[in-house]
């Protein structure tokens, strides 16, 4: 009985959480301009989303979002991993300073990060565009990469790296053959995290994107919503994004669960 109520509560809450996105998904399969009108089943919005030329600004906004996310996630992963390797060896006072600095971008609300970077760029007369958005995204993504990589280094036996050096490996070889394989899982999850953070970002982007007409998905939706009417093609787009993320996370977690069970079985044996 208790279990029944518990399950019922969870499903009710899930229904509430998913109702909005479900409505968008349902109405992505009709042609009506206004959401809520049903003019029969149609996949026209999906085809017109992918037609080149028809919704040029939306498609280029998606492209910009992906390019910015790829570059900033890549640079953040590199910068963050190198930093983590260093921080792992820092002690005491210096380490505390770096940890605190690393925490600031994660604790600051996005709007503060956005405005502070905006003031930095205007103070130095840097014109805003692709570069400034990417720099801003690297700023708020790298701390998460550091936090993904650092635990891997702390779990690692510190003597292995020294052993490699003693056995005649060059520092570069020791890095490539010993250190990097060890921190690779952390780097991968850091990259994925940075990538999604970058795609999701709105508040920092809008302050650093400038007024040259560069748009990411977030700023496109914002501008579109402010104009009053929402582009109907946003409905299939949201549905696709939602379905992709859902699929990805469920697959990752089912695989993780399967691995865990396998491990449990093996240790039981």
């Amino acid at each position: 009985m208790k279990k029944f109520f518990a399950q019922a509560y969870l499903w009710l809450l899930l229904a509430l959480l998913y109702a909005p996105i479900l409505i968008i998904a349902i109405f992505s399969f009709t042609e009506a301009k206004v959401l809520g009108n049903w003019t029969g089943f149609s996949t026209k919005l999906y085809t017109s989303l992918f037609q080149s030329g028809a919704h040029h600004s939306l498609v280029s906004a998606i492209e910009n979002t992906l390019i910015i996310a790829l570059i900033s996630a890549g640079v953040s992963t590199l910068l963050g991993s190198i930093a983590a390797i260093g921080i792992d060896r820092l002690r005491g006072h210096k380490r505390a300073v770096l940890n605190t600095l690393n925490n600031i971008p994660m604790l600051n609300p996005d709007i503060i990060t956005g405005i502070s970077l905006f003031l930095l760029f205007v103070s130095f007369g840097i014109s805003q565009g692709y570069t400034t958005v990417i720099l801003a995204h690297i700023t708020f993504c790298t701390p998460y990469v550091v936090l993904c990589v650092l635990p891997r280094l702390q779990q690692m036996n510190p003597n292995i790296f020294e052993a490699a050096l003693d056995l005649g490996a060059t520092p570069f070889q020791a890095l490539r053959k010993v250190l990097i394989p060890e921190i690779k899982p952390g780097m991968i999850s850091g990259f994925i995290l940075a990538f999604t953070l970058s795609i999701d970002d709105f508040a920092v982007t809008i302050f650093t994107i400038g007024t040259e007409g560069l748009e990411t998905l977030s700023t496109f939706i914002y501008a579109d919503a402010r104009k009053g009417g929402l582009t109907p093609e946003l409905r299939p787009l949201s549905t696709i994004i939602f379905a992709t993320v859902l699929l990805l996370l469920v697959v990752i977690n089912i695989r993780a669960e399967r691995n865990r069970r396998k491990e449990e079985e093996e240790t039981a044996r």
Binding site: I111, L120, A203, A225, S238
Partner: protein, 265 residues
């Protein structure tokens, strides 16, 4: 070249580039907020921006109103999220981990897409946009950020404490109030941090959910910056920073908070 290879050998110095990066892109920008906040348009030192905030009823009212909305949102998130986290972490009530993923998933969807969906829902149900929609939208957006840290703390909880309390004759209510609740408080605290601050500081969400009728503090800041009132905007940002610092003082588990956010993948 020699000093370069020496630096390369000493691993602690690998953190140096990132240190410089942080100084340039984190510390300096924050210092700039402080400088701009105490300057007038001509760049002279002044307190005018702050006296403007105190004497200007609109900005001050927005500030108080935003804190009110943030408190309501946070409380609703705790009331709705705590039982959910409790059930999710309890193996006898919920065995599937996919359920947890379903609750966290909305965290990974663009916040504007989510807000758009909320507006669509209200349109669809013919409900008016306004304060109700605003609070619904905020809870909808931030509930996963409350559930996940509480769930995380609860699933790491040592169950022998609960068993010990039961063995010593505590009834279920006492077990909950004296054991489970205190042990889950760190999770609730990170949840509060992850819900309260974003609620005050968001700007687009409030605009979209209320057809631009209700302003939150974040909106006020953004409007001032957009209209070229950088100094006043910086002063308002500084006020927000002070609040963050104050909320931060009573909970200092940033690392746990961050690992909560990143832990799911």
């Amino acid at each position: 070249m020699k000093w370069l290879s020496k630096m390369f050998m000493k691993r602690s110095s690998w953190s140096f580039p990132y240190f410089l990066f942080l100084l340039l892109f984190v510390v300096l920008p924050l210092v700039l907020i402080g400088i701009y906040a105490f300057q007038d348009d001509a760049g002279k030192f002044t307190f005018a921006n702050f006296s403007k905030f105190i004497s200007n009823p609109e900005a001050a009212n927005t500030f108080v109103y935003s804190i009110g909305i943030a408190i309501i949102t946070t409380i609703l998130c705790i009331v709705l999220g705590y039982p959910a986290a409790y059930i999710l972490s309890n193996r006898s009530l919920c065995r599937s981990r996919v359920m947890v993923v379903l609750f966290i998933l909305p965290m990974w969807i663009n916040i504007l897409v989510r807000t758009l969906a909320t507006v669509a829902l209200f349109d669809f149900m013919h409900l008016p946009l306004g304060e109700g929609a605003l609070i619904f939208g905020m809870v909808y957006n931030f509930l996963p950020f409350m559930i996940y840290p509480i769930y995380n703390t609860m699933s790491k909880m040592d169950h022998s404490y609960i068993e010990a309390a039961q063995d010593l004759g505590a009834n279920p209510l006492t077990v909950f109030t004296k054991v489970v609740l205190p042990l889950s408080m760190p999770g609730v605290m990170s949840g509060v941090m992850m819900v309260f601050m974003p609620t005050i500081s968001t700007f687009a969400i409030a605009e979209l959910l209320t057809m631009n009728n209700i302003k939150l503090f974040g909106t006020t800041i953004q409007e001032n910056i957009n209209n070229g009132m950088w100094n006043y905007g910086a002063a308002l940002s500084l006020i927000m920073l002070v609040i963050i610092f104050a909320t931060d003082l009573f909970s200092d588990n940033e690392e746990e908070m961050a690992s909560n956010e990143g832990g799911i993948i």
